[in-house]
């Protein structure tokens, strides 16, 4: 059985007919190579898991005493979220450049659903605050609704790309936000950091290990 890397073939051999096992190996190798045209679940789960762990972790650590997170923690949390968002956008654009057609259109529509979800989330939270909700209620609702938006969009993405790991993680995120709301403020931040951030990091590890099989 030949296991030569097809890339090592000289151009003059390009017209040569490969033996059967080599042909199967070529197909497998190119399928693997084409993975480069899709975003990496490991990277995206990893970066968002880290952002949630650090951001919500900072909020929780500084809000245990007087009930309010410090300004520094808020800045850290926002910076972690923005950094993860920038990495996500750059990574997705880099991986999908030069690909047009059906999946590019689906991907664009899916991408637009994110700001739509978060604009709705901030409007709901604003509405609650306007109606006289306490800071505690606003904080719990903001977290839980954000997690619900992320969770349901992950579920939609999992269906769109037939990625079970993404679907499962989406369900986990939605339930994590709900559990955080039930836990109460400010320990809700700890639930978001550990179950949410930790859950995504665990998801990254699972995807990585399964890809190696």
């Amino acid at each position: 059985m030949t296991t030569d890397d097809p890339k090592d073939e000289a151009p003059t051999d390009a017209d040569a007919t490969p033996d059967l096992a080599t042909a199967l190996a070529i197909i497998a190798a190119q399928r693997h190579r084409a993975e480069d045209t899709r975003p990496s679940g490991v990277l995206l789960f990893g970066i968002w898991g880290a952002a949630w762990l650090v951001g919500y972790g900072a909020l929780w650590l500084t809000s245990r005493d007087d009930g309010d997170p410090s300004l520094l923690a808020v800045v850290v949390a926002i910076a972690a979220g923005v950094a993860a968002l920038v990495v996500t956008i750059v990574h997705v654009l880099h991986r999908t450049r030069g690909i047009a057609g059906a999946s590019a259109r689906e991907g664009a529509l899916y991408g637009i659903a994110w700001p739509v979800g978060f604009v709705a989330q901030s409007m709901i939270v604003g509405g609650l605050a306007q109606a006289g909700a306490s800071g505690e209620v606003v904080a719990l609702a903001a977290n839980a609704i954000a997690a619900l938006v992320v969770g349901l969009l992950y579920i939609a993405g999992g269906l769109l790309w037939r990625a079970t790991s993404m679907y499962v993680l989406g369900g986990w995120m939605a339930l994590t936000g709900a559990a955080a709301a039930l836990t109460g403020y400010p320990d809700s931040y700890l639930v978001m950091a550990l179950a949410g951030g930790g859950g995504m990091l665990a998801g990254a590890v699972v995807v990585k290990v399964r890809a190696r099989d």
Partner: protein, 100 residues
């Protein structure tokens, strides 16, 4: 032995790599020529030659378009190409299985 035959258009080192790569994209997806070239590590001339052969067989569709002022060439596997690749892969498996 079975009387399975391998499609000669696909059963050549370079074209198999091209078709396998295109088949890995979603159906109805097009890929820009330079990106495809990068995924294959082939020279532009070499890739063009093989694409022409695949186009003659109606296995790929080549679209020339403009992105702003820059001309751009996109390549996609046709339905016939996708079916031919699936048949080819199945034939390979049958032949390999039948050999044992």
């Amino acid at each position: 032995m079975t009387d399975v035959e391998l499609d000669p258009v696909i059963h050549a080192q370079a074209r198999l790599r091209v078709v396998a790569t295109l088949a890995s994209l979603g159906s109805h997806d097009r890929i820009a020529f330079p990106r495809l070239q990068k995924l294959l590590d082939m020279t532009a001339g070499n890739l063009s030659t093989h694409l022409r052969r695949l186009e003659e067989a109606d296995y790929v569709l080549i679209t020339k378009t403009h992105e702003g002022r820059t001309p751009a060439t996109y390549v996609e596997l046709t339905l016939a190409g996708r079916l031919a690749f699936e048949t080819y892969t199945q034939s390979l498996r049958v032949l390999l299985g039948g050999a044992s």
